[in-house]
């Protein structure tokens, strides 16, 4: 490796980068022939960092920087390389050795280059690159995935007007990438602040994708061998949690943004105001559509889980994520309460109740009603939600369903548990003195879960 390095040192930045790629290809091709799972040792990685990501190896050595034109050339070369490399395994291993974060200072350059590469691949429709990227998104810590998503959103939603169409087209080219992209984007935009509300272009794009084919959401889940324990710190298997969060929180988050812009006293002209209101109206439509699609997918999920023999074993919507969601809704509704946001709060709670009910029913959310009750006890009153957490009194008689279909949600409502049901829950025992959500035990409801 050191002799290669010496020869590279003599070259200019661009040709050195090209040469590194060439050597890497040779190296991994030969490795793969000898062993099915080649070890990526340090030598090539260091070469990459020095000549591709321009991190000077010796202190004080003047870094050879590619200028923007050379960088563009390099990107094109890389695109073409991945396109022309026929072996999937070689492609994958080279992609991951190039762009897997190493936790060193080359990561910034690495991520920047990756962002540009994927952005370019989207534009010129290089499917292999997108597939590799989808794979990368699956195996990389979420923080980095979010950065890639941010780069793409910046390029296609924030920068060039109308370029969102380009992004839309990759739906047909690489649905797998689209699915991972949606997961990353929902992880990025969690509506926790005004800046983290998804741009309307992006929202429209995602809704149009999902609406066209709701199964898109499940592609990764269906095509990946599932381990029972999902690793922590990575993207989820499906964007379901994120999308539920979007639908539920959207009414409140948009209301809050409106309030902020009003109280800031920005002298918004009438036209601008109208346009934002129109925008918001469009968005509400989109969220409605999205909510419907999500519910539909959840309904579908039951079958897939059963197929994979994961029913009741794999919570695709982890309860850990529901808890903060409920809390945020609680906080937001408190925040907005004086502002006559009852309509928005109602809508959000309705959506929450629907999503919870359907998720529990389909086995995507694994929890007891007691857990739910504890979590939701402080929320403002909502009829539907109350129905959901009190549960059906009637024993359902669905012959089509396997026995024990509802085991976990059929605990009889016997009052409040003496202890917090979930360890992650902050200690706020719902005292009987002032319960917001009144629960009347033994009350009967003519209620059946939807199918």
């Amino acid at each position: 490796m050191s002799d290669i390095r010496h020869s590279l040192l003599r070259r200019d930045a661009l040709s050195a980068a090209k040469e590194v790629l060439y050597h890497l290809d040779i190296y991994f091709s030969s490795q793969l022939q000898s062993a099915p799972l080649p070890l990526v040792d340090k030598g090539p990685a260091e070469l990459l960092e020095e000549f591709l990501f321009q991190v000077p190896k010796e202190r004080g050595a003047p870094p050879k920087r590619l200028n923007s034109l050379q960088e563009l050339q390099l990107l094109e070369i890389m695109c073409n390389y991945f396109q022309e490399q026929t072996k999937d395994s070689v492609r994958q291993i080279i992609f991951s050795s190039l762009f897997s974060p190493q936790g060193n200072k080359a990561d910034d350059n690495r991520m920047a280059l990756l962002g540009k590469l994927v952005s370019m691949a989207v534009a010129v429709c290089r499917v292999p690159v997108l597939e590799c990227a989808a794979f990368w998104l699956q195996r990389t810590p979420a923080v980095f995935c979010v950065r890639l998503a941010q780069a793409l959103v910046d390029d296609y939603c924030n920068l060039v007007p109308g370029s969102i169409q380009t992004l839309k087209q990759i739906f047909s080219a690489s649905p797998r990438f689209c699915c991972q992209f949606i997961t990353a984007v929902t992880a990025l935009y969690d509506l926790s602040s005004d800046d983290l509300i998804p741009p309307s272009d992006l929202l429209e794009l995602i809704v149009s994708w999902i609406f066209e084919d709701p199964r898109l959401i499940l592609i990764t889940f269906l095509n990946t061998p599932i381990a029972a324990n999902l690793p922590i710190g990575f993207l989820e298997l499906t964007p379901l949690t994120g999308l539920i969060r979007w639908c539920v929180k959207a009414p409140l988050a948009y209301k809050r943004r409106k309030k902020a812009s009003l109280s800031n006293g920005h002298p918004t002209s009438k036209i601008a105001k109208d346009s934002t209101e129109g925008d918001d109206g469009d968005c509400h439509q989109l969220y409605s559509k999205l909510h419907l699609s999500v519910l539909q997918v959840l309904m579908m999920l039951q079958g897939h889980l059963t197929e994979k023999n994961l029913y009741g074993r794999l919570g695709l919507i982890p309860f850990d994520h529901v808890v903060p969601l409920v809390e945020e809704i609680n906080r937001l509704s408190d925040e907005l309460n004086p502002l006559n946001a009852s309509k928005e709060i109602e809508l959000a709670l309705d959506r929450l109740a629907q999503a919870l009910q359907v998720a529990m029913a389909s086995g995507a959310l694994l929890c007891t009603r007691d857990d739910l009750r504890t979590v939701c006890s402080r929320l403002p009153h909502n009829n539907l939600l109350q129905l959901v957490i009190s549960g059906p009194v009637q024993q359902p008689a669905h012959s089509a369903l396997p026995p024990g279909f509802y085991p976990h949600i059929h605990t009889p409502p016997l009052g409040y548990p003496a202890h917090a049901a979930h360890p992650a829950l902050p200690a706020h025992p719902a005292l009987p003195a002032h319960p917001v959500q009144t629960f009347i035990p033994g009350m009967t409801f003519p209620y059946r879960p939807i199918r």
Partner: protein, 951 residues
């Protein structure tokens, strides 16, 4: 949006059908610069269009496209400049004002790029504006620097004209301005930061950009430039603040560029800059703000004198106690060395302050003053503030001293070479500074005094005399006067001939009428004190040096004796007394001085009881001693003055020829009398005794003329005045003589002067022939001169002072001869009186009796009469009038036979005076016959005296 999809003139195909394959073809074309299908190279405009298409489709390529466009703009600028230089400047008009070149293909592409980029900015300002702003500004900087040597434009305006006439640069400028405008409401920091960075990098060539943008967005640019500068300053750390006194410039690179930009804007937007700076200052004090604000502003001010000038004055106004306390709170926790450097920086700044320097000084002194017992209303100052200010003042003085005394020595004469604006601004405030110093407030006056010294050295050669003048003019009392001498002591080493120029300045100021009467008096008084305090042991003291300098101005100072204000005149007299005798003085000047002194003397006499009298007398004496002629002039003036006009009243007399005007003239004197004024400056003019004069006893029908009113003054006062006058006269007589005779006698020359003055005054008509009439005619001939004689008698009667004066003349031995006219006239008239008198006793006409006695006694004193004959007046009170006449007749006879000529006197060297030897002149017996007859006739009463008159 539609415009974006198909920009007019781009000629590109509509975007929608462009497939990914086409796009990759475009990319290849852009990267290789050749047509992918044909393989032929693309022309630059086509290449650029290809780039623009990529920009619209391939976001990842935007940096590369912008880089390519940068090259395009560069080419265009190059072409533009070449075109400009190729066209010969045939019309001698400004070569910059060329007709715009025909739009080339390149220009069109540039326009396309501009349209596209502007549309992007408009559509997505938050994403594009920062990116494009920094791109445009950096490119502008590069272009400005790169072609700086090629265009030959000089000055900001020419540069602006040149670059704005170039399509490429104008476009870039437009793009930047649009970016700024798009973000101006939200957060233009990114744009301004780019501007600052570039400005640092390409400073002199880039100025035109800053000027142009600053002119378009003054408010934003000013506040943003300041806040970016502050951020940068703070980011460079407290280390920079610590070294703020030294070479912080390198460490805080943006500061220079901030200064440059603000400097550009200062001319037109000075007010808003000032507002912004002050706002920043006050906001920076608020708790929680970054503490770099104040050091930043200080540093900024240090680097830019114009900014300092704009801000300093108002800043001082706003430093109220609350603000100062805040400042103290802010700075007190800082380490010692940091504080020191801040103070040093402040001192430098204050030295640079010009506008409002005096106000600043006042503020510093006020604040540094120890707290008085009386608490002032309002917020109390923290003690720390006071101490800090105290220290600041001390250091300021030290620094000023350094800068004043370190100047090249030649500068003391050539005028200031290194300007210290602070002192420069204080030059005009010397008077106020002096006045404040003289208040002698604790501590404060010490600082002010020191500052005065520095200012004096700095503003040489005029500063020092001015300061001394002001101190001398306003000092009251020894303590305050000491400030002047101390100042002189400080400056004597560094400034030559300080007393001389001070004296000259004082005199100039006096003559310019710059001082009101009380101040003038004070000044003269102070000068006299200083001169009088001269210490013999210290030849360098102010007094010792000032005296000779003032003597040179004696003529001017003497005129002050005539000042309408009594105080001023007296002070002038005091000063002149204190001065040593002048060495050389032109007679005319001396005479004028004498005249003034005499006038002053009489004024002093008139003011009765003033201490000024003795100064006036001493002054006269001193002046008389200068030359013999001066002495004579003094005597003459004194006599003339005493007998003239209003002065006669002082000695119990009435003015000669004043009868005419006696009714109103002398009693209610108008405030300004031309006659009086004339008398001050010219010799007396007396028309009273011409041949045409008529004397009468009254107007027919109105009865007798009213006798002159009783003298205005009491007898005691008259005596005192007479005494004083004679005292002065005698002293003048003594000093006028080079070798005066022993005490009771006076010098003959002086006496002669007095005599001639007397004659001139009493009988001007006779004065012309005075020499010829020393000889006495027969008694009968006196009838021809009866009118003149009556006039003389009347004068003697009106002016009692004449007899003492005659006595004075008599004491200077031969001099009485020159008064023959008067003696003769008096004697003749008295004889006529006694002849006509029908009373039995001489005491019935007391004045005539007294006059007769005094006359004879006087002639005896003057050795005009031999011993026995000279004593007959003792008998007069006991005789009958006709007997008196007989005796007077024999006196006349003697005088006719022995004419009173000076030749009859001879000088006695051993006694030092002239004496007349009557023994040689024959027996006086025949003139005593009448005497003896009278004795016989009255032997019953006068027998006792017979022995006394035996010859």
């Amino acid at each position: 949006m539609a415009a974006l999809c198909d920009p007019p003139g781009s000629g590109s195909p509509p975007r929608a059908p462009l497939s990914p394959q086409d796009l990759s073809q475009e990319l290849k074309a852009f990267l290789t610069g050749s047509d992918p299908t044909l393989g032929t190279p693309l022309s630059p405009p086509d290449h650029a269009r290809c780039a623009l298409r990529l920009l619209r489709r391939l976001p990842a390529a935007r940096h590369a496209v912008l880089q390519h466009l940068a090259g395009l703009f560069d080419d265009h600028v190059c072409a533009h400049l070449r075109l400009r230089s190729e066209i010969p400047p045939n019309p001698p008009s400004n070569p910059l004002l060329l007709p715009p070149p025909a739009p080339s293909a390149l220009t069109e592409v540039i326009h396309e790029a501009q349209r596209l980029l502007l549309a992007f900015i408009k559509a997505k300002p938050n994403a594009w504006a920062p990116l494009l702003a920094s791109w445009a500004v950096e490119l502008l900087g590069q272009l400005s620097s790169k072609y700086s040597g090629r265009h030959g434009a000089r000055g900001l305006n020419e540069l602006l004209q040149l670059w704005m006439s170039c399509e490429a640069t104008r476009t870039l400028m437009d793009i930047y301005a649009q970016c700024l405008a798009a973000l101006i409401a939200s957060c233009p920091d990114a744009c301004v930061d780019a501007l600052l960075d570039t400005s640092v990098q390409h400073s002199p060539h880039f100025d035109w950009v800053v000027a142009h943008i600053g002119g378009s967005f003054p408010g934003t640019i000013i506040s943003r430039v300041l806040s970016c500068g502050l951020k940068d300053f703070c980011a460079h750390g407290d280390a920079a603040a610590a070294a703020a006194g030294g070479g912080a410039d390198k460490r805080v690179p943006k500061l220079a560029s901030v200064v440059g930009i603000l400097g550009h804007l200062a001319s037109r937007h000075g007010a808003s800059i000032k507002q912004e700076l002050l706002r920043m200052f006050h906001e920076g004090l608020a708790p929680g703000q970054h503490k770099g604000t104040v050091p930043f502003l200080l540093q900024l001010a240090l680097m830019s004198p114009p900014l300092l000038g704009t801000v300093a004055a108002e800043l001082v106004e706003s430093l109220k106690p609350s603000v100062l306390n805040q400042l103290h709170q802010r700075f007190s926790p800082l380490p010692r060395d940091e504080l020191d450097s801040t103070v040093a920086l402040l001192v430098r700044l204050i030295c640079q302050t010009s506008a409002g320097a005096f106000r600043t000084l006042q503020f510093l002194l006020d604040t540094a003053m120890p707290a008085s017992v009386i608490t002032q209303p309002g917020l109390a100052l923290h003690d720390g503030v006071r101490e800090a200010c105290d220290r600041l003042v001390a250091l300021l003085l030290l620094q000023l001293q350094k800068s004043v005394h370190n100047r090249p020595s030649a500068s003391l004469a050539d005028g200031p070479q290194r300007c210290v604006p602070f002192l420069e601004a204080l030059r005009g405030r010397v008077a106020e500074l002096c006045a404040e110093t003289l208040r002698l407030e604790r501590k404060r006056y010490l600082w002010q005094h020191q500052l005065l010294g520095l200012l004096a050295v700095y503003a040489a050669p005029h500063g020092a005399p001015e300061a001394l003048f002001h101190l001398l003019a306003s000092a009251k009392g020894q303590d305050e006067l000491a400030l002047a001498t101390q100042l002189h002591a400080v400056l004597a080493a560094s400034l030559a001939d300080l007393p001389g120029s001070t004296a000259a300045l004082c005199v100039r100021q006096i003559h310019a009428g710059a001082l009101a009467a009380p101040q003038l008096a004070q000044l003269l008084h102070n000068l006299a004190l200083v001169v009088a305090n001269e210490d013999v042991n210290e030849p360098a003291s102010l007094g010792a040096q000032l005296a000779p300098a003032l003597v040179l101005h004696l003529p001017e100072l003497a005129q002050l004796l005539l000042h309408p204000s009594a105080d001023a005149a007296e002070a002038a007299a005091l000063l002149l007394c204190s001065l040593p005798a002048p060495r050389c003085l032109r007679p005319a000047q001396l005479h004028a001085a004498l005249r003034a002194a005499v006038h002053h003397f009489f004024l002093a006499l008139r003011r009765a009881g003033g201490a000024g009298l003795c100064h006036a007398a001493r002054l006269l004496e001193k002046l008389s001693a200068v030359t013999p002629s001066a002495g004579r002039a003094a005597l003459q003036l004194l006599v003339e003055g005493a007998l003239r006009g209003g002065n006669a009243e002082l000695f119990g007399g009435a003015a000669p020829g004043a009868e005419a005007e006696a009714d109103g003239g002398t009693k209610s004197k108008p405030a300004a009398s031309l006659l009086d004024t004339n008398r001050r400056f010219t010799a007396a003019v007396d028309f009273s005794a011409g041949v045409w004069s008529v004397f009468h006893a009254g107007v027919i029908g109105h009865g007798l003329k009213a006798p002159p009113g009783s003298p205005a003054l009491g007898e005691e006062e008259v005596n005192r005045n007479t005494h004083a006058f004679l005292g002065v006269l005698l002293r003048c007589c003594r000093v006028a003589e080079p070798a005066p005779p022993p005490v009771p006698c006076i010098g003959p020359e002086a006496a002669k002067t007095v005599a001639s003055a007397l004659v001139d005054s009493v009988c001007p008509a006779a004065a012309a022939a005075a020499g010829g009439e020393l000889c006495w005619p027969p008694e009968e001939q006196a009838r021809s001169t009866v009118e003149r004689d009556l006039g003389i008698l009347r004068r003697f009667r009106q002016q009692p002072l004449l007899f003492p004066l005659l006595r004075v003349v008599a004491m200077g031995r031969p001099a009485l001869c020159y008064c023959s006219v008067l003696l003769r006239g008096l004697l003749a008239t008295l004889m006529a009186h006694w002849d006509a008198c029908r009373d039995g006793e001489t005491t019935a006409s007391p004045w005539h009796l007294q006059a007769s006695c005094a006359l004879v006694a006087c002639m005896a004193e003057g050795s005009l009469l031999p011993p026995v004959l000279g004593e007959v007046q003792e008998l007069f009170p006991r005789l009958a009038p006709f007997e008196v006449r007989l005796l007077l007749l024999s006196v006349w006879e003697y005088l006719r036979e022995h004419s009173p000529l000076p030749q009859r006197f001879s000088f006695q060297p051993h006694r030092g005076l002239f004496q007349r030897d009557f023994a040689r002149e024959g027996d006086p017996g025949k003139y005593l016959v009448a005497l003896h007859g009278v004795l016989h006739r009255n032997v019953d009463r006068l027998g006792l005296l017979a022995g006394r008159f035996r010859s």
